[in-house]
């Protein structure tokens, strides 16, 4: 059974009071659940959160499904998101993503055998002047080459 840590539960209580309506706390609370559930939000975690927030699980599911930053299935420890939108595409973003697929032997969305890496292609992340770039979990890495990207990811393992 999924359950937040006591800090996690305290966070939820704080967020429930932070905004004008309780419903606005759904996004921040889903982030917290994802953080404490190895990077994804499971159906049982939604039920748990629904009880904790005293909001219908349908409301929580609606938000969970709408936004790309919430993962609805398990994910590698490092979520590598390579921007493949226009300015990055013009500077090798797609080739970079292809290279990482090969290097870690996974297709987009899969988890590497050691559980460490998931690669996905992202839309513009606002680093277009320092293309190509990738986001690994919370951080941006910019002006990459295929080699420097692999080195960065391995350094984070």
């Amino acid at each position: 059974m999924f359950k937040l840590s006591s800090e996690g539960e305290a966070f939820v209580q704080k967020e429930l009071k932070r905004y004008e309506t309780k419903r606005s706390a759904i996004i921040p609370c889903l982030y917290k659940v994802q953080e404490e559930n190895d990077g994804w939000v499971s159906p049982e975690a939604v039920e748990y959160l629904s009880g904790l927030m005293d909001l219908p699980s349908a409301w929580i599911n609606e938000v969970l499904k709408f936004y790309t930053m919430f993962n609805q299935k398990p994910i590698g420890k490092l979520h590598v998101q390579v921007c493949c939108n226009i300015s990055c595409a013009m500077n090798g973003g797609r080739e970079l993503a292809n290279h990482l697929n090969k290097e870690f032997n996974i297709k987009d969305g899969e988890i590497s055998a050691d559980g460490n890496v998931t690669i996905s292609r992202a839309e513009c992340l606002g680093s277009c002047g320092t293309a190509p770039m990738m986001q690994v979990n919370d951080n941006y890495y910019e002006d990459l080459t295929p080699e420097s990207a692999v080195k960065t990811i391995k350094g984070l393992m």
């Binding site: 499904k65 709408f66 919430f70």
Partner: protein, 429 residues
Amino acid sequence: METKILSEHYDKPSFKTLKGYKELSGYEDLAKALKMDPKKIIEDVKAAGLRGRGGAGFPTGVKWGFLPDNGEPRYLLCNADEGEPGTFKDRLMMEAAPHQLIEGMIISAFAIGSKKSYIYIRGEYNSCIRSMTKALEEAYADGLLGKNIMGSGFDHDMDVYVGAGAYICGEETAMISSLEGLKGQPKLKPPFPAIEGYLKKPTIVNNVESLAAVKYIIRDGVEGYRKYGTEKSAGTKLFSVSGNVTKPGNYEIPLGMSMKELIMDIAGGMKPGRKLKAVIPGGSSTPILTAEEALKVNMDYESMAELGTFLGSGAVIVIDDSNCMVDLLGVLMHFYHHESCGQCTPCREGTGWLNKLVHSILKGEAKMKDLELINGISNHMMGKTICALSDAAAMPALSFLKKFRDEFEYYIKEGRSKVKGVSYAEVNH
């Protein structure tokens, strides 16, 4: 030449902190504004000619004037969702100068009589979330937010709200839905947010750069602000230059400067041996310009309109002759299809069809008549939907096809790219 008004101190790390910001005259304009009549501030913002920097270029003071004059609670919402492909200026502003945005927002809130504001930051912008959160803590600790700000009797609370990955939440009514804890879908207008917005209360939504600029209207006065720019496009603006230039980056210039100077001088021009082919002038949604058009247009709202395009968010995407236009349109159509929220049939179906048709060209599976189909579908997507995303997808399709039709025809006839000599089915995707 660059003209650094907003960005004057962006290279100084101390400018991020309250102490460093105050040493460089920070919050002095707030002190000045709090002594003014709020109505006069709105009049000044109107007279200064500030136009929204988020994309549509709507006059900021005029928008504020739409608020009902009845003293009812109202919200200020800062649009920091920056998602228009090619745009990275708001990120710089929040990283380098969080207090500049807070100061601009308190002044704006005072002008419109709002006691509560949110900065809606896209979820991926962790560096901005951190810098804004820290700056808000500093501002509260210093009495710049909360009750009786600077002894003026004006109360204001400000908070950060973090998005979770959806381009559409940059559209103001979708942002309001998202902040309300709903899925981030746009709402039908009218009623406009200024009448009925967040929790059905009057709400003003403005871009990061628009709100920060208000501070400089107070500092320099209407005439001082108008010293830069043109009659109808007043002031300076940050442009995010990306793509195939030697010095990509954010550059602040007076509106009205030639695009040629921005690209060829300030952003370092083209890479050795490469020629300019096209420019997307204001973010991926704005109609593309040929090299010839780009080299004669000026960076202001009217000059862009004359060429049938827009200044948009200020994202200048510079494209050289090594690029295949069919390929780049494929990238954009994939994006809009992915980001359509699906509420309106022309947008949901149209973006799907456009994506499919352009990719069928890239795979060598298209027929010549499919080009007419692309035009027909795009035309059918314009002006018929709840929000402008549908138009934003159709405009690049129409303009790429109109201005670079030979590349599309060649690809269909030969089954390979005119520029690259190969089929994309072989190399990518």
